[in-house]
Amino acid sequence: MKNNNHNISEDTVAAVANLARLSLSSEDIKLFQKQLAPILEYIAQLDEVDITGIQPTSHVLPSMKDVFREDIVHECLSNEEALENAPDKGDGFFKVPQVI
């Protein structure tokens, strides 16, 4: 599948920034668009490769299938340890701004 249009617009950068939960300024959006465009152009060379019938590699190790462990509880972090680095906490919970 030849996809010649690898140009990324400022609107796309803004949309992607939203997905990535980054609050970019309009100057940043312009700058990243300028910097990402040549990178995406370079990456487009993968279109040259014949990948018919090729399996994707998600793991390099052939042994990497269904790695399980016994369902036994081992040592865990205590509630205090888990909350040690919390920016805001209370009553044994992480505290955040209103979600609902």
Binding site: V16, Q35, D47, P97
Partner: protein, 460 residues
């Protein structure tokens, strides 16, 4: 440069505490110039020295640890503002292993933020300088680890390598840098960049020390589902082993225009040494080499964008004070905390995984990855080891490439394929260029054949 054995002798004579105090003093002095450490954790080091029982294999020997490997209770921030103040509540498995070996752990070796980089310039703490020329980069992302060993601050260091982040700084600083086979060393406690590419590895000034450190950190870990249950050989036995009759492959795609003349010259000299010891060279081809950088810069950022989604100001790290609601909290915390290169890669990764682009980018890159891995499998049918340059240039000046991200990415051209294929690779120092900057050559071997790297590397 003091070896592990020389440290052992010194510790036997003087004791662990005085040697630890000397180490701290030396680091404080040298780091004024090279800034290999985000911060010098003198209290931690001295307390650690008191705990050492002198039973372990590395008893009292200093080992610097990259700032992305979790040490319980010690600032571990991946050189990023987004993790400011973070003190992990647990030790990485490699840290547990180093503690069991009674090593003197020296935390917070400087790095590119979240390991995204090849120059150590994107650290929120400022760059590390190359000990051979303070105006130049040490390489990255494990620049601090490499510089700490090259400068003699410590004899050993551990870092991480996702696309070359151990081997490239090792080459630029003139030390040995080893990236083991994927799955050889546990990633539990390594703050993840790209989970299918990351590996923890070693820095040292000589091959025996490299083997010793590898023996300590390698091994199966049930806490890492990508850890492989293969016995850890006595790696020390491979150092200095005869190389007569070994076939060393020279891939034509790695000896191209654009490599500095002095690098080629030093490699030719190294080849002569190996030939004199009985190794044979054959030309091989790794035909998909030229697609490796593109492949990596889709897979790496894609996996990174997923791994970095957790930094949103909820559980740890920086939480923005500007947030009016939860979504704004995520966005502002991340925007304030991440540096430009991190943002670039997160954007790139998010884009290539997003609906409508997944097949064109990520899936395609995974298929090209299969072809790159197959190139190596085929090559190892005819040779025991592969030899290439580690980098196309020696250390460049600080600030020289920051404006051009693509130029920076192309510097990784020779190191990236080994990560994509999951095979072990090592950079070995082989002299200097006309500017007296270190040159490194790279050896690659079959999966789990680190012994071959140690064997051939020690003959150079």
């Amino acid at each position: 440069m003091k070896t592990i054995d020389e440290y052992r002798l010194e510790i036997k004579t003087k004791g662990v505490k005085p040697v630890a105090a000397d180490v701290v003093e030396r680091i404080v002095k040298i780091d004024k110039d090279i800034h290999a450490f985000c911060s010098i954790e003198s209290e931690y080091i001295k307390t650690r020295a008191l705990e050492i029982q002198s039973q372990g294999v590395l008893s009292g020997v200093p080992v610097a640890v990259k700032d992305n490997i979790c040490i319980k209770g010690v600032l571990t921030t991946c050189a990023s503002k987004v993790l400011e103040g973070f003190k992990p509540p647990y030790n990485a498995t490699v840290i547990e292993k180093l503690k069991k070996a009674d090593a003197l752990i020296v935390p917070r070796a400087n790095m590119d933020e979240f390991a995204f980089g090849s120059s150590c310039e994107t650290s929120c703490y400022g760059p590390t300088k190359n000990p051979h020329d303070l105006e130049r980069i040490p390489g990255g992302s494990s620049g601090g680890s490499a510089a700490s060993v090259a400068s003699g601050e410590v004899p050993l260091a551990i870092g991480s390598d996702t696309g070359g982040s151990i081997r490239q700084p090792a080459a630029m600083c003139g030390v040995i840098g080893l990236k083991p086979t994927y799955g050889r060393v546990s990633r539990y406690g390594l703050i993840a960049f790209a989970s299918s590419l990351d590996q923890i590895g070693t820095f040292s000034n000589n091959m025996l020390d490299c083997a010793e450190l590898l023996e300590v950190i390698a091994g199966y870990d049930p806490k890492d589902s990508t850890s492989v249950n293969i016995d850890v050989p006595k790696y020390k036995d491979s150092v200095g082993k005869d190389i007569k009759g070994l076939k060393i492959g020279l891939p034509k795609e790695y000896f191209i225009d654009g490599i500095e003349k002095d690098i080629i010259a030093r490699i030719e000299e190294a080849k002569s040494k190996l030939k004199a010891k009985g190794a044979e060279f054959i030309e091989i081809s790794l035909p998909h080499t030229k697609y490796a950088v593109s492949c990596y810069y889709i897979i790496g950022p894609a996996e990174a964008s997923s791994n970095l989604a957790r930094y949103e100001g909820v559980h740890y790290g920086r939480r923005s004070s500007k947030a009016a609601n939860i979504i704004e909290m995520y966005k502002e915390s991340r925007n304030e905390g991440f540096g430009a290169e991190v943002k670039r890669r997160v954007l790139l990764g998010t884009y290539s995984l997003s609906s409508g682009y997944y097949d064109a980018f990520y899936l395609k890159a995974q298929k090209v990855r299969t072809k790159i891995a197959d190139d190596f499998k085929k090559a190892f049918e005819t040779c025991d080891c592969i030899l290439t340059p580690t980098t196309p240039t020696t250390a460049f000046k600080i600030g020289e490439k920051v404006e051009d991200p693509l130029q920076m990415y192309l510097a990784d051209i020779f190191t990236i394929p080994a990560n994509l294929a999951g095979i072990p690779a090592m950079s070995v120092p082989c002299g200097k260029d006309s500017k007296k900057l270190p040159v490194g050559l790279q050896l690659m071997a079959k999966a789990f054949d680190e012994e071959m790297l140690l064997r051939v590397g020690s003959a150079i």
